[in-house]
Symmetry: D2
Subunit: 346 residues, 4 copies
Amino acid sequence: MVKASIVGATGYVGAELVRLLSQHPQVELVYLSSQSYEGKDIAALYPSLLGTVRKELVALDAEKFAAESDVVFTSLPHGASGEVIPKLYEAGTRVIDMSGDFRYDDVKTYEAWYGVTHARPDLLDVSVYGLPELHREEIRAARLVGNPGCYTTCSILAAAPLLRDGLASRENVIIDAKSGVTGAGAKPSANSHFCEVDESLKAYNVARHRHTSEIEQELTKAAGGEVLVSFTPHLVPIKRGIFATVYLNLAPGVGAEQVRASFEAAYAGEPFVTLMPEGQLPEVKHVTGSNRCAIGFVVDERLHRVVVCAVLDNLLKGAAGQAVQNMNLLFGLPETMGLPTAALCP
Amino acid sequence: MVKASIVGATGYVGAELVRLLSQHPQVELVYLSSQSYEGKDIAALYPSLLGTVRKELVALDAEKFAAESDVVFTSLPHGASGEVIPKLYEAGTRVIDMSGDFRYDDVKTYEAWYGVTHARPDLLDVSVYGLPELHREEIRAARLVGNPGCYTTCSILAAAPLLRDGLASRENVIIDAKSGVTGAGAKPSANSHFCEVDESLKAYNVARHRHTSEIEQELTKAAGGEVLVSFTPHLVPIKRGIFATVYLNLAPGVGAEQVRASFEAAYAGEPFVTLMPEGQLPEVKHVTGSNRCAIGFVVDERLHRVVVCAVLDNLLKGAAGQAVQNMNLLFGLPETMGLPTAALCP
Amino acid sequence: MVKASIVGATGYVGAELVRLLSQHPQVELVYLSSQSYEGKDIAALYPSLLGTVRKELVALDAEKFAAESDVVFTSLPHGASGEVIPKLYEAGTRVIDMSGDFRYDDVKTYEAWYGVTHARPDLLDVSVYGLPELHREEIRAARLVGNPGCYTTCSILAAAPLLRDGLASRENVIIDAKSGVTGAGAKPSANSHFCEVDESLKAYNVARHRHTSEIEQELTKAAGGEVLVSFTPHLVPIKRGIFATVYLNLAPGVGAEQVRASFEAAYAGEPFVTLMPEGQLPEVKHVTGSNRCAIGFVVDERLHRVVVCAVLDNLLKGAAGQAVQNMNLLFGLPETMGLPTAALCP
Amino acid sequence: MVKASIVGATGYVGAELVRLLSQHPQVELVYLSSQSYEGKDIAALYPSLLGTVRKELVALDAEKFAAESDVVFTSLPHGASGEVIPKLYEAGTRVIDMSGDFRYDDVKTYEAWYGVTHARPDLLDVSVYGLPELHREEIRAARLVGNPGCYTTCSILAAAPLLRDGLASRENVIIDAKSGVTGAGAKPSANSHFCEVDESLKAYNVARHRHTSEIEQELTKAAGGEVLVSFTPHLVPIKRGIFATVYLNLAPGVGAEQVRASFEAAYAGEPFVTLMPEGQLPEVKHVTGSNRCAIGFVVDERLHRVVVCAVLDNLLKGAAGQAVQNMNLLFGLPETMGLPTAALCP
C-alpha cells in the first residue's frame, strides 16, 4: 500500500484527490491538511464523500507528513509551495505538485510569466514535467513531479504529434481554449458568481495567461524548434471541462491521412488518450468524470490548415487524475489503477 | 418628469432599477449612490448599460438626495435603512424601500423574525405594503412604501384570492418555493459560487425564512383569520425567477370552477397578473424579463386539494419592477409605464 | 461471473447500465439490444464509453438472451415489456425490469394509473418491488424484480420510517419533487429542448403522475394504513438528480429527537442511504454520480410539522444503480460491488 | 404606422420579431403565418407574450400579405423562400428575409456553400446585404433585404474595420466562434436536447459552415482584396449569445493605438455597436436582450497579433433586432426605435 498525504485538501483539486485516492485499491490516505478547516472532517466540507471517507483535516507539518508518507500531493497556490516542497522533498518523500512551480526547464520562463522569483530554481533540475504521454520514463524515475495544468495538458496533447512529425508549421499556432468554472477554484469571487457566469461567456488573460509558457515549452521540445502560440482562455458556464481548438497550418503536401497516422502513432496504447473515430469530434461530455483526453480533427483542404479539437476533465486528466496517474508510475502500479476511463454521461 | 434617486445602486436590484428608470419616459435619474464604488460610472460596473446610461456613482447624502428628488428608492440591507429612510422621509421626499423594514403592520412580527430591534416603529404607521394588487389605493396615498419581497409577492398573489373567498382552508397551507440565484444578491459567497449551485438544488432556511412572516401577515388579512404557512425556499440553478407551488385544502364542495372564478375576479384588469388559460401551468420562462406574475392551478379532486403554481421574475415583479409600478401609482402615472409585460423567451 | 444482457441499451438508463456493468468486477456483458441502432457499437453512440467498452448492438432475441444470460435488464417503455419479460422469465433467466409493469401488488392500481390493461397480471404475484432498503430479503429470493422509479425511491425512503414508526400523520402528506431532465429520457422533444428547459422551471402531471400510486402503495404498507399523497413533480434545469421535499404533520408529542432516532434506526448500516449530520440538509450535488440517497430534515416546532428533504441521482439510485444493487442481491454478491458511493463534486 | 406581417412566426426568430414588433410604436402587426400552428394564437404557443399580444396564426397567402402589408418579414428555411419571396417582392411590398438566400453578391458562392440551385438569382441584383453599419445607405433605398446571420454579423463587425484600414493582414484570419442554442432553432433534435448540450461544449461544421462564405464576402469587400477565413462554430450551453474570437496578424508597425482608433472611427455614432473601454473585454451578458454588438480587443505585442472579441444576442442583433433596425431604415424611422440598447443583466 502506498501511503499518501495531501497538502491543501479542501480546494477542488484537493477534494478530487481525496475522492480518487480514498477509492484507490493500493493507497492508504495518511494526512489531509487544511489551513482554513483544521479540525473539521473532509466529509463535513464535501458531503459528496459521506459514506466513502471520513478523515479529520490537520495542520500541515512537513516533517511528519514526509516521514509517514510515501508520496505527498501538494495543492497550494504557486509560490506558496516554495518552502513546503523543498522540505518534503529533502526529507525523502516523493512529491507531486499541482502548482506551476516545478513545471519549467528554465527558471527564467517561470519568473517572466509568473512575475515572481523562484525560491528554489535548483530543484527544477530534478523535477519532471508530469505529462505521462510525453515523459513517461522520466516520471517513473522521478521524486518530484510538476503536474501539468489543465489547459496545457489538453493543448499539448492536441498539438504535439503534428509538430513533432513535421506535419504542421511552427508559425501561426493559435489555441482557442474554453474552460469550465472549477478551473477558477473554490474561492468565491465575482468571477465565479453564478449570476456572472451563467448564460454568459468571456475571454480573460488574453495574450498573457501563464499556461502559454508551459505550452510553448513542451511544443518547442516536441517540434525541435521554437513554437510560440496565441493562447486565449475563455470561461464557459459548465463546471468541469476544457475544450481546446487548435489551429495549425499544414506543411506542404500534408493531408488528412498523414494527420490521422500521426495521432494514431502517438497515442496507440495510451489508456487515457482517445483519438475520435473518423468523422467524429470530441465533446466535453465524452470525458466528464473520466481521466481521458479525447482528440479529433478536421483538415480544411481549402485553406490547408488543420483544426484539432481536444477535451478533458480539468479536475481529472487536467489535475487530480493526472496526479494519480503519475503516482501510479512512480510506484510501479498499473497506470490506470483507480482512474475512471468512462465518462459520466449524460 | 419625476426626479428619482437610488440609494444602493450597484446591487442586482439597484442595477435593475437603474435599467428600468433610465428608460422610463417620465423619469429623470438624479443620484445613484454606492458605498463601494463611489466615483465609478454605473456602466463601468454594468457594461450591460453601455449605450443606455452613464452616471457617476456618488456617496449617499440623504439631505441632498431628498431635496433634489421626488422619490428615492432605497436598496440597502434590512436594518441599514433605519437611519437613512427616516431622514429621507422627514425631509419630505417619497421613499420606496426594498428591505423588510417597512413591510410590517406589527413591529413585534418584524422583530421576532429579523431578530433585531426596529429603529423607528412609529414609521410603520405611515408605511404601506407595496403590493398594488392588494393595496392599490393605500399606495396611491402613501409617502413611504415597503416594497414586498420576491417570494412573498409570488406566494401571496397565488394564495390570497382563494383564502379571501373562503374556498380554501386556513389549515395546512404549504408553500414550496424555488428561487433563482439573483435572489441571493451580487456579493460572492459559497452559496452563489457557480460550481456549488450549478447542477444542484438545495433547500435553505427551512421553517425560518423571514418571508414567511410577510406571507402570513398578508394571507391572514386576506382570509380574515390566522393563516400560518410552511414556507420552504429552495435554490435552483437559474439566474432569475421564483416558482411557488402552493398547496391548499379546498373547503367542502369547492371545485375547479369556483377556483377559476375566484382568480378571474381577483385579477381581472390587472396588467401584471396573468391567469393561465385552462390546462396550462406557468413556467418561469413565461415571465423572465417581464413585470408579470403568472398563475395556474390544478384541482386534485381525489384529495380535494388545489395546487396553485405561480411564477415571477424576482428582480422585476419581485423587486425593482414592482417598485417602479409603485412609483407610477405614487405619481399618478399609468401603472404600466416603463414596465415590460412580454418576457424575453427563449 | 454473472452473465448479463440489457434490452434497450441506448436510452439514458440503458447506457448507464452499460457503464456500470462494464466496470463491475463480477459481470460479463453478453448482449446489448437496440431497436433503432442495431449493428452500431454502443461506444459510437456514447463516446463517453470509448476506451471502456466496445460492443455491437443487436436485435432483441428473447430466447437467445435468456439462454445465454444469468440476468437480463429490461429498459423498455411500460407495456412494451408485456411480451418480452414473460418470455425471458419463463425461459428461466432472472429479470430486472426498469418499467412500471412489475412494481405493483394490485393490478387494479397499475391499470388505473397507467390507463392500460396489464398483459400478465399473474406475474405480479412473483415479481418483487426492488427497493432493497424495504424489501431486501424478498429480493434475494426473487427471479423478477420491478425496479422502482426515481421519484418513488427518493420519496419512499424519505417518508417511510416516520410513517412506519407512527411519528407522522397519514393525513396531509405533501411531496413536492424536483427532477433533472435525464428523467425525461433521451428522445428529443419540446420538453427536453435546451432552450425550453434552461433558466426555467415548471410543474407537470400535477395530481396525476403515475409515481404517485407507487409511493402510496409502499407508504401504505409502511404505515399500516392508507396513505394518500399530493405528489407534484417539477422539471429543473439540471441533468441528473431528484430532490424531494416531503411535508408530514407530526403525531402529538413528537419532536426532532424521535425523528432522528427513527431515521437512524431505519438506515443504520445501509450503504446507500445517508442521514445528513444534524443541521445539514442534502443537496443534489452530494449524490450526483453516486448510488446514494441522502436525507435530512427540519422539525418546524411552530407548526408541529417535519420537512424531510431527500436527494438521489435518478440514473443511479433512481434507476440503473439500484438495478445493479438488486442484481448483487440476486446473485449473493456484496451489495455495494461496482457501485460508487462518492459523488462527483463539484 | 407601418403595416408588418411575418411569414414563419413561430420559430425563435419569428417569435422574437412578434415580441419586438408588437411593442414597436410605429408598427401594426397584420398577419402572422404558421404552417404547423394555423388557427392557434401566438400567445398560446408563447405564453411569454400573454398580456402583450394576442393574434391568430394564419396560413401563408403571399398575395394577401403583400397587398395589406408595407413590409413582410420572412423567417423560413433557406431555399423555402425561393417561391414566396419573389411573389411578395413582385407584388410590391418590401421584404426582409432571414434566410441566406438574398445575402450574396455572387450566386455561385451561394450555390457552392448551400449545395442548392438558387431559384431566382436575378433578385440578387436588387437585394441588399442588411448590415446597417456597412451598408446603411443601400438599405434605405432597398425593397429586398437579406438580413445577415448571427455569426456573420458578429464576425464582420469585429474584423472589418482593421482590414479596411489595412491594419491587419488578409492572411491567417482565424475566427473561433461560440453560439448559444437558440441559434439551432426551436425544432427539437439530439443537438438541442438539454442533456446533450448542458455541461458540454462541441465544435460543429468545422471548415464548412455556410456563414464562412458570408463573412468572406463582406471582409473581402472591406479589405479590398480576398480574405479567406478559418471559421469554427462551437455550441455552448447558453440560450442566447454569440461570442466571436478573431485572430488577425497585424501589419508591420501597427500597435494598440491604431487599432483603437480604427474601431473608434468605424463605430463612432453607431447606436448598436459598443467599443469596450480600454482594458475591458465584452461578455455575452453585456448584450443579452439588447440589440447591441460589443467589441473589445487585446494587442499581443509579443506575437504582433490582435485578438478581437465581439458579442451579440443572436436573436436580436443577430436576427430579429437587426431586421427591425433594417425596417426602421426602410421606412425612414429613427434607427433605434423599438429596439433595446440595455441588456437584461444579470
